[in-house]
């Protein structure tokens, strides 16, 4: 087994789709009165569009694309801070490719690189560590972004740097956590969600129980899902069956990768290196309590915020998002991307205005890239 092709079998997909249609009928959902399922994770949003699952599932299901795209929810001010760090002549600024195109209030990292900043794209924080080892006379800053899936990698890298006694490596920590924004969405009086497809790779680290509150306190079903198309379809089917049967449970479709209680080593590394910030700002969602992480004092020497005096703790100011930008409304499911007045006009992947147009995982970019104007036409 290679764990990929087996979960992309179109014949099996037909069977699941037939069953999905059957359960949608049993629920009595229609295009006019659909069930609203939120896929929290941007990776799922991307997969839905990449495989055309939105067009294969019956019209009685409407996917609401959630906030699980770390670059999409990153406020402009954080990108501005990245640019400030990167333009410091002492600094080699290292980042995942994802962050390169996100617009700041003045420029993106891609533009800062063109202006002469030493910015290097890496695949792993381990590669940033290696750059630090090879450039002892430079300050290597790694842009730590992402949810719980990615947090252990920077925590383990910081621990490794501490073991080696590296003094020129630091992390600009912007790690965020999944459960708090879901709670915000569920508390929204306009909330229309009937169930959730949960982010499987986050649960691979934290397990499935951090979502218990969704089922217990809010009475909504959630199924932790894998990322292959069959995984997604099966998870949607599991959510639908819970809705049909009036159940609200946390189920695990992705048991081959997700242990019920997560990964012990990852959780210990996160706990050792990071602590929750009192609150953190999300693009489109505002400030959310305990939704972001910062580096503990014990690892202060590896904290770029401490070292360079930038960041959320140091005189943070919010930068006004563009006028009329409806990212927040899209993310909470109140409108579809094409209903935003800027969609495809003032806001395109070439010149993104709002956060959701930036990453290929953002709902708007996914709509635009894989559906374009046609997606716009199908939304009344």
């Amino acid at each position: 087994m290679r764990y990929v092709e087996e979960f992309r079998d179109p014949v099996a997909a037909k069977v699941v789709l037939a069953e999905i249609a059957h359960v949608v009928d049993q629920i009595g959902a229609t295009a006019e009165k659909p069930v609203h399922i939120m896929e929290i994770c941007g990776g799922h949003t991307h997969a839905i569009f990449r495989y055309g699952l939105d067009r294969l599932t019956p019209p009685g299901i409407e996917f609401i694309h959630g906030p699980g795209c770390p670059v999409c929810v990153l406020p402009m001010s954080r990108i501005d801070e990245c640019v400030t760090l990167a333009e410091d002549p002492r600094v080699i600024f290292t980042t995942f490719g994802d962050a390169m195109r996100v617009p700041g209030s003045k420029k993106s990292l891609l533009q800062a690189k063109a202006d002469g900043a030493d910015i290097r794209m890496v695949y792993s924080p381990l590669d940033a560590l290696e750059i630090a080892r090879r450039n002892p006379d430079r300050e290597v800053v790694f842009f730590g972004l992402g949810f719980e899936t990615t947090t252990p990698s920077t925590a383990l890298s910081i621990q490794q740097a501490a073991r080696e006694g590296l003094t020129n490596f630091s992390v600009f920590c912007n790690h965020i956590t999944v459960p708090p924004p879901i709670k915000v969405l569920l508390d929204d009086p306009h909330m229309i969600l009937d169930g959730f497809v949960g982010p499987g790779h986050v649960s691979m680290v934290i397990g499935i129980h951090p979502y218990d509150f969704i089922a217990e306190a809010y009475d909504k079903p959630i199924v932790v899902a894998g990322f292959e198309p069959l995984d997604l379809l099966q998870s949607v089917l599991m959510v639908l069956k819970q809705i049909r049967d009036g159940r609200a449970e946390v189920e695990n479709q992705y048991a081959r990768v997700v242990p019920e209680h997560g990964n012990r080593v990852s959780l210990a590394a996160i706990e050792d290196v990071y602590e929750a910030r009192p609150k953190f700002e999300w693009r489109g969602l505002g400030e959310i309590d305990a939704s972001g992480l910062r580096i503990r004092d014990a690892y202060k020497a590896f904290d770029a915020e401490e070292k360079f005096g930038v960041g959320y703790g140091a005189g943070h100011r919010s930068v006004q998002e563009p006028d009329g930008c409806a990212c927040g409304a899209v993310m909470t499911g109140r409108i579809k991307p094409p209903e935003c007045p800027h969609y495809g006009v003032g806001c395109t992947p070439e010149m993104p205005l709002g956060a959701l147009m930036v990453s290929s995982e953002g709902a708007c970019a996914a709509y635009y890239q894989y559906g374009g104007a046609r997606a716009a036409e199908t939304v009344e």
Binding site: R55, L56, M121
Partner: protein, 347 residues
Amino acid sequence: MTMLKPVTRLRGDRVTLAHGGGGKAMRDLIEEVFTDVFQPANREDQARLTNAALAEPGAQLAFTTDSFVVDPVEFPGGDIGKIAVCGTVNDLAVGGARPLWLSAAFIIEEGCEIALLRRIVASMQAEADKAGVTIVTGDTKVVGKGSADKVFVTTSGVGVIPPGRDLRAERIRPGDVAIVNGVLGDHGAAILAARGDMALSTDIQSDCQSLNGLIEAVLGAAPDARAARDATRGGLASALNEMAEAAGVSIEIDEASLPLRAEVKGMCEILGLDPLYLANEGTLVLFVPAAQADAAIGAMRAHEAGRDTVAIGTAGQHEPGRVTMRTLFGGARLVDMLVGEQLPRIC
């Protein structure tokens, strides 16, 4: 003749600004590294060219130019010199021209190894011989350290389009079959791996090859072939979008039919890239009327540059200018032009 000719007149292993100064050092570099290999018919500044094909009534002259910058300069499956010949030969060939002559201009960074230049020039000559073209004129300039990256090459090419031949994209009609001559994305993936930034290792080789022979072969078997384009920067997706737009047709491709090497797929999965947008350097898309599709595919498979030829889709008329893909799942999705550069991603 008792005097032994010195092995080399060049002093040192690296190019210096003196090699661009117009004096003896420059002459020695040009003669020993370039013209001794390319052996142009005369060593004047201009090439003087005659060819019987030019005199044929209805024949058209085709002329193209392209600059090549690639990092790293040498990579699995080729180097900047091979690409500089293939790229220009292919630009001529996909337009229906028979490539005849190339020029080659080199911008060399101070400090560039002379041995590297020799390897590049040798690989250009080898590829030119293979493609049946002659490098007839050229130029070198040396720029200061940091003003270029080792060496940049510009080639221009002249060819002749035989009377009655037309492979412009606008000729594609609904119902035509889209064919590619081999696996997609090898060049882009090979370069990504060779660059080393992502610390990935693989055996993928660039697909870099000249396509003029293949095009002659397919035109013999499918004389009504409509249009061809090489899927270089921006990959197959960009080539298809340009063709759909030029012809005012829609194009639907079938994901299941796309030829992809397992390693290229693997690299795309790791870095979150879409192979449809990876660069190729020896891959073309050809549109032929459905009635001649089998003949075209057969002729291409019989040619060494087309062993893995397959049909990947068809032209339609419902949404002019749009390219869509039937996914492995029977879903459909838009295949848009690439926005900017594909960047590796983690999410």
